[in-house]
Amino acid sequence: MTSRRRTTRGLGATALLLAATLLGCRSLARGGDGFAASLTYQAAAIVRAPADGTAAPPPGPRAQGELTVRLAAMVGRRVGPLVGLSLAGGGGAPLGASYDVALVPIGIGARLHRSSFVGIGLALATTGGSSTDDAIVVAGQAYAELALGHRLRLLSYARLGSDQLIADGLDRRRLEVTAAVRLGHSFDRFIPASNGYYLGATWRGQQGQEQWGLVIGHSLDAGR
C-alpha cells in the first residue's frame, strides 16, 4: 500500500470517528446522562518468539515483566463518545526496558448492559525500548468489556495500526490483542459497578517481532 493511500485511509477513519464523536456529544447535550468506564491495572509476563533461522535475534530482553494502567470511558446511555488512556512500562532479562504511552482522544462506544461496553477509537502513542525502536503509533484501538452474570466478565483489548519509526521514518505494521476473564463482584450501592482480578493472554506483532505472554490484573468498572 502506498504512503498516500495509507494517509487517505487514516484521514477517512479519523473523519468517521470525529463524526461519531460529534453525534455522541449531540446525544449527550440532548439529555443523555449515561456512561460506562473501566480502570485496569495489569501485570504481564511476556516472552519474545524466537526469530527464524535467517535473522539475527534483535537486542533487548527475551523475557520481561510489564505493568500497565489503562482507562477507558464512554459517555451516553447507549452510544456516545469514548476516550482512553494507557501507560505501560516494563523491564526484563537480559537487561532492557520498554515503554508505551497511548492516548485515545476520540472514539465511539456503545454501552450494552450495566457497565458492559464496546468501543473503538483513534490511538496516538509513543512506544519503544531496548528491543524495539522508538516510534510514534497511530492506530485503531478497540475495547470490549462484557459482563457474564454478576461475577464473570470478559475483557478484551486490541490495537491495530502502524509504528512510524522516529529514527528513519519507516512504517511498520502493529497488531496486539489481549483477552482475559475476570472473576469478581458486582455492586449496586450507588451505581452499577463491579471489580475483580483477571487472568488472560496477550499477543503482539510489532516491528517484525512477535511477543506473547500471560496477563493478570485487577479492573473495576461502573456504568448506568
Partner: protein
C-alpha cells in the same frame, strides 16, 4: 521460561504484605498517636486508600480522629466506617506522642480546611495529601501506602524531605520521584506509586495493600 511467570505475576498483582502490625491499642494511661489507612468502599477497595490519625491524651477514654471528610471521637481507633481492610502504619507513645498531639491539634484543622476547599480526587489535594502534610508538619516518621493516591501531591511542582525524613522527593502534578535511605525509590505517575521500599523491604504497587513484601512500618 514462563513456568515461574504465573506465580510471579500473581504475587505482583495480588499485592500481599506479610507480617502486618497487630491492632493493639497502647495503655490508656499514656498519650498515643496512631496512623491508619482503610480501603475505600467497593468497587474502589483495592485501588485507593484513605488515612486517618487517631490521637488520645493520657487518661482519656476516647480517640480523636483526624481526617478529611470526617472526624470526631470514637472508642476504636482502628476501624473507621465506611473504610475497609484497615492497615496500621504507625504508633507513637509517651513524650513523642504528647508533642505530636499538640502539633496535630494546631496544624490539622487548617490543613483539613484548605484541602476540603480545594479537594480534587486525582492527583490531589485529597485526604491522602492531608495525611502526608500532617505527618511532615508534626515530624511523625511514617509513609502512607502506595495506593494512597494523592499522598505525594505538592501542587504544580514541589520538592522537600519525605514524610519519613530520610529522603527527598521532587513532585509535579503529573510525575514525581522519591529517593530515601528507608523509603527506597518511588516513581509517581498521575498519583500512582511504583517502586522499591528498602525498609521494610517490599515492592511498591498501587494495588491491594500497596506492597509485595514485608508489611508497612
Amino acid at each position: 521460561m514462563l513456568g515461574r511467570a504465573p506465580l510471579t505475576v500473581l504475587l505482583v498483582v495480588g499485592g500481599c504484605a506479610i507480617l502486618p502490625r497487630q491492632f493493639t491499642a497502647p495503655p490508656a494511661d499514656t498519650p498515643a498517636v496512631i496512623l491508619m489507612t482503610g480501603g475505600l468502599p467497593p468497587p474502589m477497595d483495592q485501588i485507593a486508600r484513605h488515612p486517618w490519625l487517631a490521637t488520645r491524651r493520657a487518661g482519656e477514654a476516647e480517640w480523636h480522629i483526624w481526617e478529611v471528610g470526617g472526624g470526631g471521637t470514637q472508642a476504636d481507633p482502628f476501624h473507621n466506617s465506611p473504610y475497609v481492610e484497615p492497615i496500621l502504619h504507625g504508633v507513637w507513645t509517651g513524650a513523642e506522642a504528647e508533642t505530636a498531639i499538640a502539633c496535630i491539634e494546631r496544624v490539622a484543622p487548617g490543613v483539613k480546611a484548605h484541602i476540603e476547599r480545594h479537594y480534587f480526587l486525582v492527583p490531589g489535594p485529597n485526604s491522602n495529601t492531608f495525611g502526608d502534610e500532617v505527618l511532615r508538619a508534626c515530624k511523625l516518621a511514617a509513609s502512607l501506602p502506595a495506593n494512597s493516591v494523592g499522598k505525594d501531591y505538592r501542587g504544580l511542582i514541589g520538592a522537600g524531605l519525605t514524610s519519613e525524613r530520610t529522603g527527598v522527593q521532587l513532585e509535579t502534578a503529573l510525575v514525581g520521584v522519591k529517593l530515601g535511605l528507608r523509603e527506597g525509590v518511588e516513581v509517581h505517575i498521575l498519583g500512582l506509586t511504583f517502586g522499591v521500599d528498602l525498609w521494610p523491604p517490599a515492592i511498591l504497587i498501587p494495588l491491594g495493600a500497596g506492597r509485595i513484601g514485608f508489611a508497612d512500618r
